[in-house]
Amino acid sequence: MTAPTDFTIAGARAALDARRISAVELTRAHLDAVEQLNPRLNAYITITPEVALAQAAAADAAIARGEAGPLSGIPLAIKDLFCTAGIRTTAASRILGDFVPPYESTVTTKLLQDGAVFLGKANLDEFAMGSSNLSSAFGGVENPWKRAGAPETVLVPGGSSGGSAAAVAARLALGATATDTGGSIRQPAAFCGVTGIKPTYGRCSRYGIIAYASSLDQAGPVARTVEDCAILLRSMSGFDPKDSTSANRAVPDFAAAVARGVKGLRIGIPREYRVEGLSPEIDALWQQGMDWLKAEGAELVEISLPHTRHALATYYIVAPAEASSNLARYDGVRFGLREDGKDLKDLYERSRAAGFGAEVKRRILVGTYVLSAGYYDAYYVKAQQVRALIKRDFDQAWEKVDAILTPATPTAAFGRDETQDDPVAMYLNDVFTITANLAGIPGMALPAGLDAQGLPLGLQILGRPFDEETLFAIGGAIERAADFKATPAVRAAA
C-alpha cells in the first residue's frame, strides 16, 4: 500500500472517500514527517498541528456525512505570504514581527471551504523577492534533492516559493500554495522536481496575499502531478469582488483537460530562448520535450519573441517600483516590528532598516530611485512600454500557435554556497519565467528528466490568457511521456 505521504491528491481523495485512510491519519502522517524533516529542510516557518488536526477531524466528519469537498482531508502547505486568520503570517520578514492577521486570504478561504487541511506556513524568500529562498529571515530552505555522490552539498530549492516546492518534493505536504511574480512558482518547482502553475493574471484573487509587485503577483499551486495542480488550481481560482484586478470568468474543470492529449495543437518554440549559458543538458531536455509532443501529434512551430531579451531588465524596473510602494506600509506604526527613534522619521528608518533584509532593501531603493523625480519617464514609463512590446510579441505568437514550450530554468538547482554576490547574476535565474508575468499569461513548469548529477530539470509551457486548460493538456502529455519517477534523497520515509 502507498505510504500516506506518497499519495497524490487525487489518490488521497479516493482513499479518503473509500475510507482506506482517515483525514486525521493522513494529516498525522504528514505532521510526523514535518516534525522529523523540517528541522533540517526548514520548509515551514510555522507549523500548526492543532489547527491541522481539527481541520482533519472536520474533514472526516464531512466525509462521513457524505459531504466531502474536492479537497476534504488533503494536507497542504500554505506559503507564508497568504494571510491566515489567527495564524502568524510573516512573509519571511522580520518587519512583520509577530503579525497575526485578523483575516483570511481569498485563496486560502476557498481551499478551506473545499475541505483542505493546513499543516503550516511555508518558507519563502523575504516578501517573495528572490530565486534561492536564501533571503528568508527565517533561514534558507534546503532542497531535498542531492547531487549524486555529494550528499553534504546543500542545494537551494529555488525561490521565492522554495518552502512550498521543497515541502511537496520531500513529502511534507500533498500540495502547496505558492505565488509567482517573476517565476516564483515555476523556478522552485523545476529545482525541486515538482509541478507548478502560475495561472493567468486575475485568475486567483490577490486579496489577503501580501503584495510584492501587484501587477505581476499571481497565486498558483505546487503539487507532485499535473492533475493535482489542476485540482488545487480549480479550488484556488475564481472571481473575487474584493480584488479589482480579479477576472470575472468561469473556472473550468482543469483536471478534465489533463488527459485531453495534444493532437493537432501547434506548439511554439521561441528561438530567443536559446540563451547564452543555457546548459547543454537543458537544451537536450527541451529537444526531448519537443520530440514527445511531436510524437503525440502536436505540430512544432518556430516562433520569435524578439523582446524577450529585455524582459529581465523590464521586470527589474517594474517590480521594484511597485514593491517600493507596496512595502511602504511596513512602518512600525500599526503592526509589525518597531525600533524606537528620536522622532517619527528616525523610527521609520530604524524600524525598516532592522526589519527588511538586504535584497528587499536593494529592491526598495531601486524602486524608489526609478520612480523619483526626473527618472520616472526614463525608467518606469520606458519599462511599461517595453512590457507592452513583450505582451505584443505573445499576442502575435498566439496567431500562429496554441502554446509555447521552453525550458523552465537555465540550470538545475545550485548549491547554497555557489550563489553569486552579483545580484544581476542571481536575477538571470528568472530569464525564462519572467515574460509570463509581464504579459499576464499562464505558465506551467513540470519535471521532465534528471541531469547527469541526478538533479531534476523542468520544462515550461506558456499559454494564452485564461487558457490554462491547454497547459494542463500539454503538461499531462509531457508527464506521461517523461514518466518522471525519481524522488529526492531527503523525503518522508516510505
Binding site: 485578523p102 479589482s244 529585455h310 523590464t314 516590528l337 518597531r338 512590446l389
Partner: protein, 95 residues
C-alpha cells in the same frame, strides 16, 4: 545615469531606510550595477507604444455605496506596537 553617494543617501531617506555611512559605498556599487544593467532598455525603440500598467481588467468594477466594514476597533489595534486607548501612538510629530 549613475548614482553618487549623495543620491543613494537621498533615495534611502525617501524610502525611509536607515543606511549606515560605511554601507553607502557598497550600496552605491550594487545599485549602479543593477541600474547599469537595466539601462539596456534605452536601446529599445518604443516610439508610439502605449505604456502597459498592469495585467488585469480593462476597467474598474464599482461597488455599491453600503457600509459593510469597520466597527472592529480592537482588531484594528490588536497588532499595534504602541497604542493609547483607541489610538495608535507615535513619537510626537511637529507639523
Amino acid at each position: 545615469m549613475s548614482l553618487d553617494t549623495a543620491t543613494v543617501r537621498r533615495v534611502a531617506s525617501l524610502a525611509r531606510l536607515r543606511v549606515e555611512e560605511q554601507d553607502l559605498p557598497r550600496l552605491e556599487t550594487e545599485l549602479n550595477g543593477i541600474l547599469g544593467w537595466i539601462e539596456q532598455l534605452q536601446a529599445v525603440d518604443t516610439t508610439g507604444v502605449e505604456p502597459m500598467a498592469g495585467g488585469g481588467a480593462e476597467s474598474l468594477r464599482m461597488r455599491e455605496d453600503q457600509v459593510t466594514d469597520g466597527g472592529q476597533q480592537q482588531a484594528v489595534l490588536a497588532n499595534a506596537p504602541d497604542r493609547a486607548d483607541a489610538f495608535f501612538a507615535v513619537p510626537k510629530v511637529v507639523e
